[in-house]
Amino acid sequence: MTPEFPYVQLSGAFHGFLRKASLWEGADHILSVSGTRFSEEYRRFYYRDIEALIVERRARWGSLGWWLVLLIVFVISLFAAGGNGPRYSWIAALTFAVVLALRLDLTFRRSCRCSIQTAVSREVLPSLIRRAAARVVIARLGERITAEQGNLPEDMPPVEEEVLAFIQRAESSAPSPLAVLSEADQREQRRRALRGFIFVAAALLVLLVGSVVTFWFARARDLPANLQNWIAYGTIITELALAFQAVRYLAGIRFVNSLRRFMVAYTILQAAGFMLGASIAIYLGALRIRGGVDLLSVMLYYQEGRAALQLALALFGLILFLAKWKAYRRGEPSSH
């Protein structure tokens, strides 16, 4: 710890494709840094104010970029291996399955969300998403906080009467989150949720059908050029309309936060896909002039890769949909 820079970095930084987060230990406070690649936000928690550190076991998907890289590597390796015979394709698929299993183990079994409670707020620490890192950080912070606040006695201080009564009342009643709303609001809430779910189900169906059409379109070389163009335009218009509707609809529906994020991510990917596709086409056009590349086969791989990504996103969305449907059946108005 140098005088110029009074912080030491703690374990467990999150480095996403767009977002990042880290945690720093200072002399009298911890500094939580989060933000995008282009801006940072700071939260300071003073050791003297920290009341509790809460770690909840929770699936954390981590960076979207990581999953995309995994998928792209899989698609490329599958095509690369396919050229040497089906046996190599199987090896590539098996390797991918092992890596995916490890990643899912990390996502579901070894992940958590950490919160820090003070007298006035409870904030999530976005850098701590893995349980091993959380254990290390909490042990370290525990020492600093204890040095500032002192130890709790062996026999814990008694819980105040009124607090105890509040807890017992909360435990005994435990109403459904929807029960606090009026009848009309409940009906409206359920109607909005149902509408949202029907829309998302339809959107996922379109995605699935779209991926199948893209696969077929990529292989159907003998179609007339006009028909090919019309299919391409139709796909683009449908996807753009779908993405626009998704953002518009889901912005107002609190039931489906994860699905909303998923649809926004999908829209961004589509936009990036169009731009990259145009650039790739120009690059390949330039290369074809020099006679170095079989343009058709490369474009075929590109189309199939895009279809595979679409299919994977649709399946991912389907899993989210089923998870959220269960939450809806339980009567939870929001995932937060």
Partner: protein, 198 residues
């Protein structure tokens, strides 16, 4: 003195308060939780004794609230401050006016909540146009140069961060601009040569 489940916001049951570090499930949503408690949770909340805050005859009173007893001096402007007005930042006492006006000898780091990373923006503007077949760099390159000059001295982030992003962005855009200038020069030269031959 309550701890709430971060998932469902319900108050955690009493068994979580029997030991400094407890693992268990939330009664509301059955989420597995591990809770570490600290003495601040059990600290009695201070009760305000209103009469003691009022200034008596002959006592110094707050600059902002003339009826209240002064308990501190602003380290910047020297005004008397009551318990409500004194703000302690970095072991110094400030009055709200000095904090708001920013007249405290530069921005106080402990109060900063957000910073923009202009070096990352410059680097992104210098590199991303490659993905879009180079043409946008005609616009983005001068923007990168402007950002590098305008924000070179501004502190970038609270955590350690060098200037290498600015340097790299400048090198890339200088190469881009040289290439564009070369292409334009070659095009003009070729046109003139062809025109002369005709």
């Amino acid at each position: 003195m309550l701890v709430f489940c971060p998932t469902c916001n319900s108050a955690l049951p009493e068994r979580f308060f029997r030991h400094p570090s407890v693992q268990g499930s939330c009664a509301g949503c059955a989420t597995d939780l591990s809770v570490t408690l600290f003495p601040a949770l059990f600290r009695p909340r201070g009760k305000i004794d209103a009469p003691s805050l009022l200034s008596a005859e002959g006592e110094a009173s707050c600059y902002e609230h003339p009826g209240k007893r002064a308990v501190a001096l602003c380290n910047k402007c020297g005004r008397f401050l009551c318990a409500l007005c004194e703000v302690e930042v970095d072991a110094k006492i400030w009055c709200p006016s000095c904090l708001v006006s920013g007249d405290s000898g530069g921005p106080i780091q402990a109060l900063q909540k957000q910073r923009t990373l202009f070096d990352s923006i410059a680097l992104a503007l210098a590199t991303l146009p490659f993905l879009l077949f180079f043409y946008p760099s005609i616009v983005s390159a001068p923007v990168v140069v402007y950002l590098a000059i305008r924000y070179w001295k501004r502190p970038s982030s609270i955590i350690p961060r060098g200037k290498w992003r600015f340097v790299l962005a400048l090198v890339i855009v200088l190469l881009e601009m040289s290439f564009i200038a070369l292409v334009i020069f070659a095009a003009v030269y070729a046109q003139r040569t062809i025109g002369t031959r005709k």
